[in-house]
Symmetry: C2
Amino acid sequence: MNTAKHTVSAFDEELDALRDMILEMGSRASSATTDAIKALNKRDSEKARAIVAADRDIDALHHRAETAAVNIIALRAPMADDLRVVVAAIKMSALLERTADYAKNIARRVERITIEFPDKTWDILSEMSSEAGAMLTDVVRAYAEGNAAAAETVVERDDIVDDLHDRLTAKLLKHMIKHPDSISQAAHLMFIGKHIERIGDQATNIAEMVAYAETGEQPDTRDTDRESLAA
Amino acid sequence: MNTAKHTVSAFDEELDALRDMILEMGSRASSATTDAIKALNKRDSEKARAIVAADRDIDALHHRAETAAVNIIALRAPMADDLRVVVAAIKMSALLERTADYAKNIARRVERITIEFPDKTWDILSEMSSEAGAMLTDVVRAYAEGNAAAAETVVERDDIVDDLHDRLTAKLLKHMIKHPDSISQAAHLMFIGKHIERIGDQATNIAEMVAYAETGEQPDTRDTDRESLAA
């Protein structure tokens, strides 16, 4: 084995390890999203607290991934394509850490909710979290496979989450007007909906990173912040 | 002039240019924050639309800064301290771009608000936006000066914004209960408050980046997502 080959091989191993950390973060963020909504459904405060606690592990993974990426750049001085992959990993790690924070914020609100879910809002929340969780799973798979086309389909699915979010908000506002006594509870549900909508946005941002890592073209940042609030 | 000196000097110029782009983004994000709240106060839809439109310039700056940073890494292969500064610039650029999005989201809601500001909520919103805008200005100055201690004071000030946000939310919930006819309007104001609170969070995250760039120590990520909702 010559030295050059040995060096390349160690480099590949480091890139693989970095990718594994990103995959692990994606998997955990996706589970935290769907688990938080399950905990909400069952008013399971214990499970909710476990999700909040587990966010520290995701934060630790984020720091490890970032340190690993910076070390790769410093020690290997990767050029062109490889550099782009490492820079994308730094950004994806930050996005996934933030995504997991939204799931944590949902979990934190679980014990505040004591009312029944108003008019079909549970169905909508459940569908939103399934879709957002699946978008996360799919986008990290697209990243692992270097599949820019698969990432693109994730971007398109953000509209589904946004539409569900609009329906949820409209129903909750109607409920608030009819039941002023449960306004603060409904406001919690509204913020939970907003958190899931933001998780879908983050999956979209990650999908754009994947495209960047693969193609080297800066994406036209999609305008994920649709702020309609049915009135 | 020898070649080595020429190279170092060009490298310094590139770092300066990168820093200037970050400063420009910070200045624009800060102005967008305070201007959006001024537009809200005067129900100035035209000004609000101008803020939304100007966000494209911040997005463009973000892409330019990121491309410049990646090029510096690729062409100059900076080591240790310099690499940390460039990596921090990539992350700060992403954070400032997101911060400006929150200001844009505030501006977008301006034309939805037709009610008078309920009970002192204007004073609170105004104070929140001044504080969050000043945090942004101060944190980019701390970045430009490489002043980790100044960045640390910004982290501490996030509590001021969070406390104001709690007061705002409590007042808006009370208003909703008393005036069910203006619930959706009050919900808009609640989301505007949330956006400003998130701008303070981003300034805090940026302050942690500044500390990282200066000291090389990964910050204990502060838990900025205080999610209390006065009930």
